[in-house]
């Protein structure tokens, strides 16, 4: 997927992406401070927002093969199980109950399978939205701060699943996160956003640890200090 000269203005904020290449079947991390435009970029890729200028070349990728999970996911007024099967239902795919049960078991949601989804905690909602996003096997998943309310062991389980899946049946991920640890552990590529623009793109470790751009170095130093203080 290629993004060229993309521009979107919302009130005083301007997002301007000159060039962004999202390589197929790789995990891309997008990092940046609050208000740098990460979520806006994700919404533009999803087609939730219309750009004022520029274009996104999906290179044959169908809109129905792209999905996104948000920090505060929307849950349907149905049971946990029915929430998970919704993307299958609209694609007329028969749900594999055994597979869904395995997912629910793995992340401790099995006992809440028939429970009303609105009653879940914020962490459980995020797990549900992740399962719902991967269950229909999309080709591109945008994960926007979805792991922020999860326990470290649950995050480790999800990361382990993603990495294992990438070995056998890789898909493209765009991972938006404030937590450097996710990006370092998961991503092949990293893109640093600052005030609506991409400052640097490249291999994850080169960008995160060997950047020459002062804003990126400063941002990384802040993150390292924060990680150490935790």
């Amino acid at each position: 997927m290629k993004i060229t000269d993309l521009e979107k203005n919302v009130e005083e904020f301007c997002l301007r992406i000159e060039n962004l290449d999202i390589k197929e079947k790789k995990i891309h991390g997008i990092i940046g401070g609050n208000g740098s435009g990460k979520t806006m970029l994700a919404k533009l890729i999803m087609g939730i927002l219309e750009p004022d200028r520029g274009q996104i070349d999906y290179e044959g990728l169908d809109q129905r093969d792209i999905t996104m999970t948000a920090q505060r996911p929307y849950l349907l007024r149905r049971s946990v199980y029915d929430n998970i099967t919704y993307p299958l239902e609209i694609r007329k795919i028969k749900p594999d109950e055994k597979e869904i049960d395995e997912w629910l078991h793995r992340y401790g949601l099995y006992t809440k399978k028939k429970q009303y989804a609105g009653s879940l905690s914020s962490g459980e909602r995020q797990i549900l939205s992740f399962i719902r996003a991967v269950i229909f096997r999309p080709k591109l998943i945008i994960i926007d701060e979805t792991f922020s309310n999860l326990q470290p062991d649950t995050v480790a389980l999800i990361e382990e699943w993603i990495l294992k899946k990438q070995e056998n049946d890789p898909i493209t991920y765009i991972l938006i996160s404030h937590q450097m640890s996710h990006i370092i552990r998961l991503c092949d590529k990293a893109h640093v956003m600052y005030r609506g623009s991409i400052l640097e793109s490249g291999n994850c470790k080169d960008v995160l640890f060997h950047s020459k751009i002062p804003e990126v170095v400063r941002y990384m130093a802040d993150q390292v200090i924060r990680m150490e203080s935790v």
Binding site: I66, T67, T69, L76, R77, P87, I90, Y116, G118, R132
Partner: protein, 230 residues
Amino acid sequence: MNRIEALLSQVFTDAGTYDSIKVTFQMAFFSTGISSFLGIFWGLLLERIRFPGKGIVIRINRTLMGVPPVVVGLVVYLLIMRRGPLGSLSLLYTIPGMVIAQTLIITPIICGMIYSYAVKAAPGVRVFAKMMGASKRQTDLLLLKEMKNEIYFAIITGFGRSISEVGAVMLVGGNIKGYTRTMTTTISLLKSQGIFQEGVVLGILLLLMAFVLQCLTDFFRKDDNVNENY
């Protein structure tokens, strides 16, 4: 106890009481059915489309939500009276005439309620549907399903308003015994004749119906307390 039994027997052996209950339900059923279809359709359409003067249309609808039923009754009377523009249809002093008046009273109420709910629910549902790759038709269907409880609530409110209305049905229906006499117009007549006991029994019956409707609305609203999407 014997006195109450005698009173109930007196009220229910009177053929007019049964007829008034039958007419009330016939009128309420048809007027609520038509109003629900129109109100839900216009409410959702109003949320969905943008046009110049939309704000004024919403304000007019809100005004009509509180319009005195007697005024509506008078307007309908003037329209369907023998010398009126719709006089040739012979609707005056008939149940269809009463249904027209009731529909004009209830439709703005259901439309206004549906519009208010849709304004809150639709943006979240549309973004979610886009993330899941739903088509436009699937998105509309999902919105209807997500608003299911609110739709029931609006319909029940409309039905409750219909069975309790007196001014418009008195004007348009003419309170003809066994034909257009409803429970409320019967109470009004009994009071003017000084027959209070039967009037009170009918009033209690109406109150019981209102209580059942209230229980139903509470049942549909209970899920809202645990839903954090809106």
